[in-house]
Structures are given as C-alpha cells and as structure tokens.
Symmetry: C2
Subunit: 368 residues, 2 copies
DNA sequence: CTCGCGCCTGATAGCGCTATCATAACCCCG
DNA sequence: CGGGGTTATGATAGCGCTATCAGGCGCGAG
C-alpha cells in the first residue's frame, strides 16, 4: 500500500487538473459540479484534462468544504428479503459513486400514524433525501411527511408518481403484455391472472398489460379469470385454488409476483397437475422463490440493483439542483425489463387449437 | 434546516471541546482516537466535555486530514437473500458509525481459483479491510489471498478461526443444545437431525450441541438419526424423506437451518403428517422461510445485523491498531442468540395418527 | 465614447481534523 | 541536584475542495 506521506494514494487533485487545463481550481470545481457560467471552450478543456488524468474528486474534501456531508435515507418495509438485498446492493453502489452515505431504516408498521412517526424519527437523523422502495413508495403518510419537511424523495416502482416527484420504474404494462404474449404464442387461450396488492399501482399496470395482450389477440379481456392476491405466498394459495376451481380451468396462470406464482405451483401439485404440462405458471420479479421452487419459474426480471442505483443518482441530482436554487420538476427513469424463460411455462398439453372458438374460455370478440 | 453560513449544522467542533476542557484540539484528537500519551486526568476532563457537548467527530474532516478515507469491503456469495439483507443493514450501520464506506461485491463462484481472482479484483478497489459473511468466511482461497495482500479480514460465523484472526459468531454449540433441550423437555425421545453443509464449521458445532443435549438426558447420541443436508431447501427434502423412512420414525426433526426445516415440513405434509401434532420441526437462523411456511417455525435466532455491525467495528479497531503499528492478536466476539418459539414444535402425540392429505396441505388453522 | 451591467474567472479563506515537530513537564538515577 | 531520557501537550501547517467576493472582459444603452 503506497501511502506516501500524508497524501492519500498517488491521487490527482483538483490542482493538477487546473494546471493541466490552464485554469484555476475554482473553474475545475465549477465544471465538475455542473454549475453554469463557464464558457464552453473552457469547460471542454477542463473535461479533457479530467479524462487525461483520470481524476476523480475526493469526496471527503468535498463534503468538508461544502459543509454538508450528504446522507441519503432508505426507508423500507418488509419487502421480500431478496428484493431488499438486491436493492441495497444497488443503492450502495450509487452512494459510493456519488460520494455520499446511506442510512437505512425499517418501517414495519402499516398504520398511517406509525409510518408518519417513523418518517419523522428518520428525519432527525439528518438525511437530506430519501429513497423509497416499494411498498413504501405508495405510502401517502410517508410522502406527505417528507413533503412537509421539504425533503425530496425518490420513489421506486411507483405506479403513478405525483407532481414534481422523482420516480424510477420499469414499464410494468409492457412487461405484463409481453409475458401474456408469450403465453398466447405458446397456444394458451385460458389464462388466469392473480392480481397483486391493490394498493400497489404497479399491480394495476400489470393487469392492464395482461388485458391489452388478450385484446390484441382478439380475446375478451373482461372474460379472463382474475383473482385478487396480495403479493404473499398465502394469498397466492387462495387465489390459485379459486382459479383452478373454475368451470373452465385455465391452462396457464400469470401471477403478479413470484411468491404467488410459487403458491400456484404448490396448489397445482396438490391437484395432481404437472407443471408445466397441465398448467403453465408465470411469475413476476425474478426473486429468490423463482429459482427455489420446482420447476423454476418463467418470470419477468426487474433490474432491481440498477433501479436502486438510478434512484440514488436521481436524488443526488435533485439535491444539487435544490442547493443551487434551480427550479425543480418531475423526473422519471424507466429501466429495461427482461423476460426470463425457465421451465414453468410450456405449450398446453392438448395440441393448441388456436382458432377454435369452442376451446376457449373467452368468447372471441368482434374485432374493433 | 438550519444551515448557517458554511457551517454544517450547528455542530460542535473539536475546538469547542478543547476550549471547554481547557486543552488544545490536538489533545482532544488524541483522546477520541484512543492514542496513548495522555494523562488520565486530562483524558477524563476531555471525555467529560465531549459528553457535555454531545460532540461527535466529523468523519469527512477526519478522513481528509488523515489522508485515507477508509473503505471496508464486503464479499458475499449466494447466502440466503434474507440473511444478506439483514447483514447489510448491520454492516451499514457499523460503517456509518465508524465514518467509513462500505464497498460490496458478489463472488458467486465456488471454485478456488475464481474466488482467489475475485478477491484480487476486489483488492484493486482500495479496500483496507474485508468482512466475510458465511459461507465465504470458510473459504481458504479467499482468506489466503487476503493474508497475502496484508488486508485484515473479519469472518462471521466461522466455526474455527485461525491464528490472529478476527471473528464474530454466536455460540452454535449452546444454541443447538438449548433447542434440543427444548424438544426433550416436551417429551420427544426420537429426535432426528438434518446436518448443515459439511464445509461450514458451524454445522459441526450444531451437531455437537445436539448430541451433547441427548447425552445429558441419558440418551445415546450415536443412536440418534442424523442425515446430511447442504443448507438448501432441496437437500432438506431428501434428508427429511430419509429420516421419515426410518423404522423408528422420529417425532421431531431439528434442521440445521430454516430452509431445510421448511423442506421437512413439506415432506411431512406429503406423508400426511400434521405438524406439530405428528411431527415437530425446529429450524435454525430465523430467516424469512421461518415465517413463510405454515406452521411457522420454532427456530434459533441469530442477531445477524448485530453480528455484521460487530464485525465492522472489530475491523475498524484492527485497522487503527495496524496503522498505529501496535501488535495485533486474535479477537473474537460471541453474540447472544435466542430461541424463538413458534408453532412448529409441540409435545409428541402418544400414538402417531396418519392423516389424509385431503385435510389440507396448507389449510391454515383458524387463527386466534 | 463612456457608463453600467451582465458573464466568466481567479484569489483568498476557510471547512474540521490530524501529522509533525517543538516544547514543556516529569522522572529516574548516579 | 543536574543531566539524559522519557512522557504529555501545544503550535503550526496542511489534507482537497468550495463559498465568497473581487475583478476583468465584452457589449448594448445613453
């Protein structure tokens, strides 16, 4: 470990960059902080020097000089543990790159008052911005409390962000449509859906995508069997039982998340159905249960880490804007999702009869 | 947000403390860094002032002045997601309090070469110490690579730490013995154990505790049915099947972790056994599966977050010692565990009563 | 042509802490 | 009781960066 003198590692400093670009350190500082009032040519030559020297600012010095060491809060509530750990990994990468700290706190309660109080307690820890992964991203008490304190928040996977809000999400509508298309392409015509938690906006988006795909294939989306779930394994059991008890048993079930999909597989097994031969099951999220169950789940992967990192980045940009007194406005980042094809989905056992009206649960609809 | 001038928040600085204690800032610095060469009376008055002013050092200034911003590495490999997220929460709290940064990295491979290489790659990121949660805490290639680079490491839940090593753990022997005692006290005499992964030293400790409890109750520990598991759900299925196929079917199964215990419950249900009436099942760790399955698991809780926090703390102390050129020696922290009594364990029923599967694999009982 | 008002840039002075060295206090022994 | 060696404390000078303000420059209005 070369730790020469008091100098950190052989690090390049802002002075080195300034010298190389032929400007003052202050100008370099302005460039790296994206402040206005720097001529374009100057900015360019500074950036050139930064690149050439492979300079990266010392975050300790930065927070010391700026008189504010940035702490970003992360408030979470019993999400799936798999989701949380991936989220933390991403958030941590984001804060590391942004040179700030992450303070995390649990908020287990679902009561509005408790949530508001947890938020207030959290705010006393001097966080300057908050990241809210689901399901807290939908919590009005928390959002209200943060707004009242003037602390900016980024919501993640919030279906319907508010005015001037920050949000990171995937396109749930498109993802659900793609998965449904996948099932339809394999020949399924009787597809049941287990909806997610009603308080979670993304649930509605997924249902919308499901229905849109059906409609696009000439099926009546309103005739599709849909049962309410609440993202828990147990709610999935109940919903799957109901779906399989229907007169026209679905050949495929699309669940609003992996836990409920895993439950559907369990129910299928209990009914003596072979997955995927007798029943295809598709999940959503690609979390741990997806690969724990057998057969492994075909599901939709959300780039959870990347979303968390994007959230932190968005928040840091916002904080800088606020500090500079710039006008703020809504910002949203939509990241790419991915269909993960595993073993829980296959063509229905009886040879697909795509155009036979009688085979379908859904009455074919007159093309609009 | 009172952000007066450039001053952070109305923060007390080292100068304030120095003035109050009637010494120089340098002396205060010495006290808070636990350096020698400070008279006891001086130290006391400084500490008094620190407490009175509720002073806490500014970590940004600290790392800037010290010319080294501490980065602590966390290398993990596919642990249970639940374990990892709890671990991260604790580690983060530790780094926050220690005023340092956490850099985390995954090391998925189990090959020795890949692990060594991942470690080397990790070391280029300038981490000054590494925390190793299980199962990596048992990885010789990684430990060797770190030792070669002169980077101190803290292992967590390592059964048999090396010379001059740092380790944080719970007393697996005592915990397993307590759980077994609990089963024995309820009247169980035929208790089967599913061992954990053989590469994990803690597995052996848990088995030892199990046997010690049996012996203390006058039972022959070598006659107890024991099957090998590997901490995975699937390995638990196999092991549980074997235990239940034995001529003298156990009335209780103690699994080396929660995943395998959950598997044992599944197998029991398949055999038409009611848990806990016909078969008691105990787990270990108190991770997510413990409360996901029905009935919920009686298990041993490890204070995962606290262990991670302790690991970071231990590492920071070691780093400071190294920097000060002090002699280093082994250090271990043993944290308290806790028996969590839920519904999967009860007194054995006199006559094992087989039940039909139709009574409901998952059907929850009327909950009080 | 000159004044004034933008825009861009740089000099200076810290942010809170610690490394370094100098100094002061002390102690042990001959 | 005075020298040589400790041990305890303090003064000073930065660590790398940014806030602040003063100045320079260009350009349109008076």
């Amino acid at each position: 470990m070369a730790r020469a003198g008091r100098r950190g590692r052989g690090n390049v400093t802002i002075e080195d960059v300034a010298r190389m670009a032929g400007v003052s350190a202050m100008t370099v500082s302005r460039v790296i902080n994206d402040e206005g009032n720097v001529r374009d040519t100057t900015r360019a030559s500074v950036q050139e020097a930064i690149k050439r020297l492979n300079y990266s600012p010392n975050s300790a010095a930065r927070s010391l000089a700026a008189g504010q060491s940035v702490h970003i809060g992360l408030l979470y509530a019993n999400p799936s543990a798999a989701y949380l750990s991936q989220f933390l990994v991403g958030a941590l990468e984001g804060t590391r790159r942004g040179g700030c700290h992450l303070v995390i706190e649990a908020c287990e309660s679902e009561g509005a008052d408790e949530q508001a109080e947890a938020t207030r307690r959290f705010l006393t820890t001097e966080v300057e911005g908050v990241v809210l992964p689901p399901p807290l991203s939908e919590s009005q008490p928390i959002l209200a409390e943060l707004a009242a304190a003037g602390i900016p928040a980024v919501t993640v996977a919030m279906g319907r962000p508010r005015e001037d809000a920050l949000n990171v999400r995937i396109d749930d509508f498109a993802a659900a449509r793609e998965m449904t298309d996948h099932l339809l392409a394999l020949g399924h015509r009787q597809i049941g859906m287990i909806k997610g938690h009603p308080a979670h906006m993304a649930s509605a988006e997924r249902l919308r995508g499901f229905r849109a795909a059906l409609a696009a294939h000439g099926l009546d989306p309103d005739a599709a069997p849909v049962e309410q779930g609440y993202f828990t394994f147990r709610s999935g059991l109940v919903a799957a039982e109901r779906l399989l008890a229907r007169p026209h048993r679905p050949t495929a079930i699309f669940a609003g998340n992996d836990d409920m999909a895993a439950a559907a597989i369990g129910v299928a097994h209990r009914h003596g159905l072979v997955v995927p031969d007798d029943l295809s099951v598709a999940g959503y999220d690609d979390t741990a249960p997806a690969t724990t169950v057998w057969p492994e789940l075909t599901t939709v992967r959300q780039p959870i880490s990347a979303m968390a990192e994007a959230a932190v980045e968005l928040l840091l940009v916002r904080l800088r804007m606020m500090r500079a007194g710039m006008r703020i406005q809504a910002a949203e980042r939509v990241l790419a999702h991915e269909l993960v094809i595993r073993e829980s989905v296959a063509a229905p056992r009886r040879a697909a009869r795509p155009r036979s009206a009688a085979s379908g649960l859904y009455a074919p609809r007159a093309k609009a």
